[in-house]
């Protein structure tokens, strides 16, 4: 299937909008609704004027049928948005802690349920836009720190990350190319005598079916160690060097 080039490297805002619709939001139903079992989420029993937490896509569908009223998230209150804006102004290097999908959710609530907001929708929309502009300015400042290894900006929203992703990825790749060009590494050459099994049969063997292809016999691998475990590297290094010293002996020390 052919996909346009810009969709290969990043999401369209409409795709993020779709993903944000799977977040939950509180609604006030106007009619009784029976609980429904769905794959992934269960919809609770709905009573009129009792708050229920449902996925946004459900809330949108009910709202379109005039069967519910949105309860906008706390941060979409005018006072809270003003507080967030003040925080953004006061901290030139930190971003305020907002919902990951804050722009999309604001967009959804403002388009489908502007009448359920506690303040006029224009005010909310302008505040959201102001916050977004301040954050954008800060992310531009943050770009000054870019290098080939990392770029860290905490608490950016999905849409904000999405907007800078193609640019940053492409830029950092080019910087990595420069660093790689400058560093010429010795090519790794495997001598044939390392693996005598290969000489006997011409068919190359893939994977680690037999133990001889492993650099370290699996009996000596620490099976209790899992990916993500914290390892005290200094102790590990000492153990390794110990093992190196004892290589001529048959069978290394217990790991």
């Amino acid at each position: 299937m052919s996909v346009p080039a810009e969709q290969l490297e990043t999401f369209l805002p409409s795709e993020l909008h779709f993903m944000a619709e799977n977040e939950t939001i509180e609604i006030l139903p106007r009619r009784v609704g029976n609980p429904i079992k769905l794959a992934g989420t269960d919809l609770p029993l709905m009573h009129p004027l009792r708050k229920n937490r449902v996925p946004i896509w459900m809330a949108i569908a009910l709202k379109k049928q005039q069967r519910c009223q949105f309860v906008p998230p706390d941060w979409m209150e005018e006072s809270n948005l003003r507080r967030i804006l003040a925080f953004e102004h006061a901290n030139p290097t930190a971003f305020s802690n907002v919902d990951f999908h804050w722009l999309e959710i604001a967009q959804i609530v403002l388009t489908t349920a502007p009448d359920d907001l506690t303040s006029p929708p224009q005010v909310i929309r302008n505040l959201v836009r102001d916050i977004r502009e301040v954050r954008e300015q800060k992310s531009r400042q943050g770009m000054k720190e870019v290098n080939e290894n990392m770029l860290q900006m905490d608490r950016l929203g999905a849409l904000e990350i999405n907007e800078m992703r193609p640019f940053v990825v492409e830029g950092m790749e080019e910087m990595i190319k420069i660093r790689k060009a400058g560093k010429k590494e010795e090519p790794i050459i495997y001598s044939e005598s390392d693996n005598p099994e290969d000489d006997e049969d011409d068919e190359p063997t893939y994977g680690h079916d037999d133990e001889s292809s492993l650099a370290v016999p699996s009996s000596q691998l620490d099976s209790s160690l899992r990916y993500g475990d914290r390892v005290d590297t200094s102790e590990r290094r000492r153990e390794l060097s110990q093992w190196d010293d004892n290589v001529p002996q048959q069978g290394g020390p217990e790991w």
């Binding site: 810009e6 990043t10 369209l12 805002p13 409409s14 909008h17 722009l103 967009q107 403002l110 388009t111 502007p114 929708p121 224009q122 929309r125 836009r129 531009r140 770009m143 000054k144 870019v146 290098n147 080939e148 849409l159 999405n162 907007e163 800078m164 992703r165 193609p166 640019f167 492409e170 830029g171 080019e174 910087m175 190319k177 420069i178 660093r179 060009a181 400058g182 010429k184």
Partner: protein
């Protein structure tokens, strides 16, 4: 062509020639050619990049400035050049990011890589703006 002549060659030819160790005419075993630093990477350009990277007109030096620099760095180890190019690129990238969504003369200073970057930035900015413009009041 006499020995000691200085000529401009495409860098890929210079690459091949500098790696051949045998000179068929004189028969000596030294390198056939000595590669000088390309015009685009001459010290005056590098000094300009060191002082004010975003202001340098890289397109005038070479439309493929960074590609050339990377090719050259692959051929010859030059740690100083590598540092200058890498820091200059970081500075220029953040400058381009500032300019995304704007129009102006600055585009003429970008080399091909930077132009591509600028276009990508503009495209995603446009997509974002179109999305945010879906509210109508």
């Amino acid at each position: 062509m006499n020995e000691g002549t200085i000529i401009d060659l495409p860098i890929w030819i210079a690459d091949v020639l500098s790696q051949s160790e045998y000179d068929p005419y004189s028969g000596n075993q030294e390198c056939f050619v000595t590669v000088k630093i390309p015009h685009a990477l001459k010290p005056s350009v590098l000094n300009a990049l060191k002082t004010d990277a975003p202001g340098v007109d890289l397109r005038y030096q070479s439309p493929l400035f960074f590609a050339l620099a990377i090719y050259y760095l692959e051929l010859f180890e030059d740690e100083e050049l590598e540092t200058i190019i890498a820091t200059a690129m970081a500075e220029r990238i953040s400058d381009i990011y500032d300019n995304v969504g704007r129009r102006g003369e600055f585009v003429h200073k970008y080399d091909e890589f930077e132009k591509m970057l600028y276009k990508k930035g503009c495209a995603s900015r446009r997509a974002y703006k179109e999305y945010m413009a879906t509210i109508k009041y």
